[in-house]
Amino acid sequence: MVEQISEKILVRGNEAVAMGAIDAGCLLFFGYPITPQNEIPEYLSKHLPPLGGEFIQAESEIASINLLLGASATGVRAMSSSSSPGISLMQEGLSYMAGSELPVVIVNISRSGPGLGGISASQGDYFQSTRGGGHGDYRMIVLAPSTVQEMYDLTFLAFDLSDKYRNPAMILGDALIGQMKEPLLRRKPEKMDLPAKDWALTGARGRKPNRIKSLYLQEGELTEHNWKLYQKYERMKKEDIRFETVNTEDARFIIVAFGSMARVSKTAMELAREAGMRVGLFRPITLFPYPEKALFDISKRVKHFLTIELNTGQMVEDVKLSVDRDAQVYFYGKPPGALPPPEEILEEIKKYYA
């Protein structure tokens, strides 16, 4: 295995994802080229084979997700990465994997849409990621890294969470976090205590055959199955919410932002503080399960929330659903393109800060 490195290295976010996957014990990667995530397959195509793993460049993202379905069914850790249009193609497979209760890690270094769109940073895939994306009543675990270090740490975590719940987990990054370099300390986080994969297909030797499927035709079967999945999502909300708060204790005004936008918002918050405004930052790290309760608790004290997104308004719906009913939720969105500088966000804060 990879030795633990105690020294910081300067790597791209995409490379950090690939390193996190290797350190989490991922041995198989299936993918199809698409900008801006190519450093992930490139890195893994080089580094997986010496570890005894395999990299396959599939004929499409549809093939990738189904190669993953097969690999995951045998109990091994496998992943794919892509960018928005490719992730759209994977939605059918993700629905099947959620329905079949198969773990998998998918990385979306999202780009801008709709359609071919462009390759600039965007947060336009928030709905697709958190609302299911594919058909049927299912959810994915969605983690939103904001630094290169988090690209590594959260990829590692995604494998654990996906195994814990037998459910697909997604890393939702964007071109900015994927392409930029920052210092990374490549040390493995502590691994979760995970249940044995006794459901995996390994050959029915000395046991009854294992079946992995999502087709339930007997009366009542599917209802029961859907309730079971629901219980799982509820458990995620209880046990695996993650978020970051900065300066919320004395805040009179809170910015809510995730991923790359949280970085810019943090600088804007500092500028606001320098100008004497008591502004705090709430950054959801798990976009599903969403930190509803944490946000609600804050909204009992703070009544003004400004949601900043690199889209025309998606996560703001979750903020509105979370906060206390007398809290005000404002929104500042930017369609894909250049990230707004902190000064621009500061102007928005000034507009609403009372």
Binding site: L67, L69, T74
Partner: protein, 250 residues
Amino acid sequence: MEQVFKRPECLIDVPFHFCPGCHHGTVHRLVAEAIDHFKIREKTIGVASVGCSVFMYDYFNIDVVEAPHGRASAVASGVKRARKELIVFTIQGDGDLGAIGIAEGIHTANRGENITLIFANNGIYGMTGGQMAPTTLLGQKTTTSPYGRDFTYDGYPIRMAEMMATLEGSAFVARVAVNNPANLMKAKKAVRKAFQMQTEEMGFSFVEILMSCPTNWGLSSLEANRRVEEEMIPYFPLGILKERKMADYL
């Protein structure tokens, strides 16, 4: 007294749900016999495709994973790549392989994935109620080709075995039928050979089986068998199209 005919060990003792005269049960049996023959039941994984073949897990006494429509060969490849010691097969219908999943099928063959693909070609969508398939014959009436398949609208029936045989990655490609005892014996040999190729790590093995679907063809079992003989076989000629003698990496 010696028992000369019995249920293969890797089939579960339940009646098939298939329609009367349908060849699916026969094909399941051929696969089961091959698995028994090589004594590989405990390390064989079946990949259930979408279509009448999806209920594989109700009949085979082996580990099974269900694939989305058209994606069975990709799923099978994923299983095999993850655990090379396993024997992996799938039974894909003509809609599954010849239409929605043709890309996955071709590329699985082209990568030389060491799996066995049984292609169940009955020229029709059985499970959804008799719509036109990519292998539906010209002139054949189905619920979505009520005037008969016309190549100016619908193109031509696809010959999958021929296509697979052209790919460097395929090791064994055959087309067989199970409409009479003589063809059945050849089919049995071909299916066994396909599994043998996999156990010997020769690469991708492919057996197209011409099958009947009396229900959706609107024929009796005997008429359906005759139709396989008189209409399908002339367009889809039987035989071994390709047989690699040595693995390509040797």
